[in-house]
């Protein structure tokens, strides 16, 4: 049912990865993606993949979760791999040639490395959402974007919007369920017909949902005002984010990986 939708897919735990500061995790995820695109050497890929394997084991996240995060992007990976294979024109002898189709070794190489990169990217980014509460992520984003406040960018408002959205997702999902049940009880047919008919059948669900969402928004604004909300000015937080030794360690580990990958690129020339 619709209730099964989860956002953020947090996987509770107490591992070092869970305890690392969300800001550091966010920075390191970006760092990792950059690393992936610097790699030019098969040993570099082994380091990158090895890191993910170890991290998932430490975080105690089951292997099937990894598969679950890759599953939706498999078609995209295959599609780009095929395009890369056929459209890259290498200088060396083609491996295969028939009519207008040519497969160059460079094409195969690029197809394989791109596939590895994209899979690592998704699995790496999923690690962030698996080990971090959505609310911690919004806190981290608010903190990291802090400097933009000087440019009048509404950082606090953005973070507040994100956390209210997270707060109301389960409430609105429940409400959608109720409205669907109510409309079915009135004889609404939501399951049969072609795409157009089904889209049309959604209208009597969406309209009450929107009306109620607007009413909720109004009441919530009133309740927030009654609790002295006046934007981000002079606001303090219950939970302060603190960098610990763990974060320094994680950061150094990534610097080490970067150095390793650059050295491999320079001194262990092209194994692939």
């Amino acid at each position: 049912m619709i209730k099964d939708i989860t956002i953020g897919q947090y996987f509770p735990g107490k591992s070092v990865l869970h305890r690392t500061d969300p800001r550091m995790k966010l920075i390191l995820t970006v760092f990792y993606i950059v690393l992936l695109f610097l790699i030019q050497n098969i040993l570099g890929y082994i380091i990158a993949i090895g890191f993910l394997v170890v991290a998932y084991i430490i975080a105690k996240i089951p292997f099937k979760m990894v598969l679950k995060s890759i599953k939706p992007i498999i078609p995209i990976i295959i599609f780009t791999a095929i395009l890369n294979m056929f459209f890259i024109e290498g200088e060396s002898e083609p491996l295969f040639e028939w009519w207008i189709f040519r497969i160059a070794p460079e094409g195969v190489k690029l197809a394989v490395t791109m596939a590895i990169r994209v899979v690592c990217l998704i699995v790496g980014a999923s690690l962030l959402t698996y080990t971090t509460l959505p609310i911690s992520l919004t806190d981290a984003i608010e903190d990291l974007l802090g400097p933009l406040k000087k440019l009048k960018f509404p950082v606090h408002e953005l973070a507040m919007m994100m956390s209210i959205a997270l707060r109301f997702i389960p409430t609105l999902v429940e409400e959608t369920d109720k409205i669907m049940a109510a409309q079915k009880a009135r004889g609404a047919d939501l399951e049969s017909g072609n795409l157009m008919q089904r889209a049309k059948a959604l209208v009597p669900i969406l309209i009450p949902l929107f009306i109620s969402a607007f009413r909720r928004a109004e009441e919530l604004a009133l309740a927030m005002e009654a609790r002295c909300y006046h934007g981000g000015e002079n606001r303090t937080r219950l939970k302060q984010l603190h960098y610990t030794k763990l974060d320094v360690f994680a950061f150094l580990l990534f610097v080490l990986m970067l150095v390793g990958i650059i050295l491999l690129n320079l001194y262990a020339p092209v194994l692939i």
């Binding site: 609310i135 707060r167 009441e219 309740a223 002295c228 909300y229 303090t236």
Partner: protein, 285 residues
């Protein structure tokens, strides 16, 4: 006359009208009330009587069209003191879902102190104390959608207590709850009134809840119809019925017996009192 220093909420000739399609609709017609510190006041009235509108004047959500409202001696129209006023008078609303802001119970309770710019260590202390007061401490790391209606409303009350207000206004806070949730909330606010000395203004249309108050105010057509102890107010059975309100069942029973010519007291509120009165009546005949 009571000591004026003890008056927390005061309205003088309070009138309120809202405009819709260039037409003025009067909601409140000259209300004069004063509520003392530590009182437990129930405000009764049928839908559209103006009782919720009155409540929203107590923390400057609405400002009077005419007349004045004082909160602890401060006029609510004084914009510089707005946060002072809202900190004095906390408000709990009807729908528990639409007043919780954060994804974790403790973060939600911390919302008001955070807005007031209180130091993190003090926020932590207040949040823990508030959650213990409403008996929701074990649930501090739950998310609101995992809680029942009564529990959510208690979290909302904790969120108000964390501001350390002198008065809590509950705007039909029990209307959307099941009987169990209502009991939980009533128990919590009575405890806050007794133990912490909080002033409570409880807007409701449940007679059983009004009976337990120190004082009952009946609002009808934007005016104060009756104001006094529950015993005094519920003597006016026919008047209350005329404005579309009920009286407690036992009070109604006594009123009907009296009408039938029997000699029974007219200020019965509880079932025990009713049983005693009936026993007296039967043994007397």
């Amino acid at each position: 006359m009571e000591n004026t220093e003890q008056v927390l909420l005061q309205t003088e000739n309070l009138e309120f009208a809202y405009e819709q399609n260039e037409q003025q609709t009067m909601v409140l017609h000259g209300i004069n009330l004063s509520i003392r510190k530590g009182e437990f006041v129930a405000v009764l009235g049928h839908n559209g009587s103006g009782k919720s509108t009155l409540a929203k004047h107590f923390n400057a959500i609405y400002l009077p069209t005419k007349g004045v409202v004082y909160v602890d001696g401060i006029e609510t129209t004084n914009e510089e003191m707005l946060f002072e006023i809202r900190q004095h008078v906390g408000m709990v609303f009807q729908n528990p879902d639409n007043q919780l802001v954060a994804t974790l119970v403790e973060e939600d309770v911390a919302f008001a102190p955070e807005n007031l710019g209180i130091a993190p260590a003090e926020i932590r202390r207040r949040v823990d104390a508030a959650l213990k007061q409403v008996d929701m401490y074990e649930y501090r790391e739950h998310s609101p959608h995992q809680l029942s209606g009564g529990q959510k409303q208690r979290v909302a009350i904790a969120g108000i207590i964390a501001m350390q207000p002198e008065c809590i206004v509950l705007d039909e806070a029990t209307a959307m709850l099941d009987p169990r949730g209502r009991n939980e909330v009533m128990k919590t606010i009575h405890e806050l009134n007794r133990k912490a000395g909080a002033t409570i203004v409880h807007i409701t249309h449940y007679m059983e809840e009004a009976v337990e108050a120190d004082r009952v105010i009946v609002i009808d057509e934007g005016k104060v119809l009756l104001d006094g102890t529950p015993r005094y107010v519920f003597q006016h059975v026919s008047l209350l019925k005329k404005v579309g309100l009920d009286v407690p069942q036992v009070t109604e029973l006594m009123a009907e017996l009296a009408e039938a010519g029997l000699k029974v007291p007219d200020d019965i509120l509880t079932e025990t009192e009713c049983a005693d009165a009936l026993e007296k009546l039967l043994s007397g005949q």
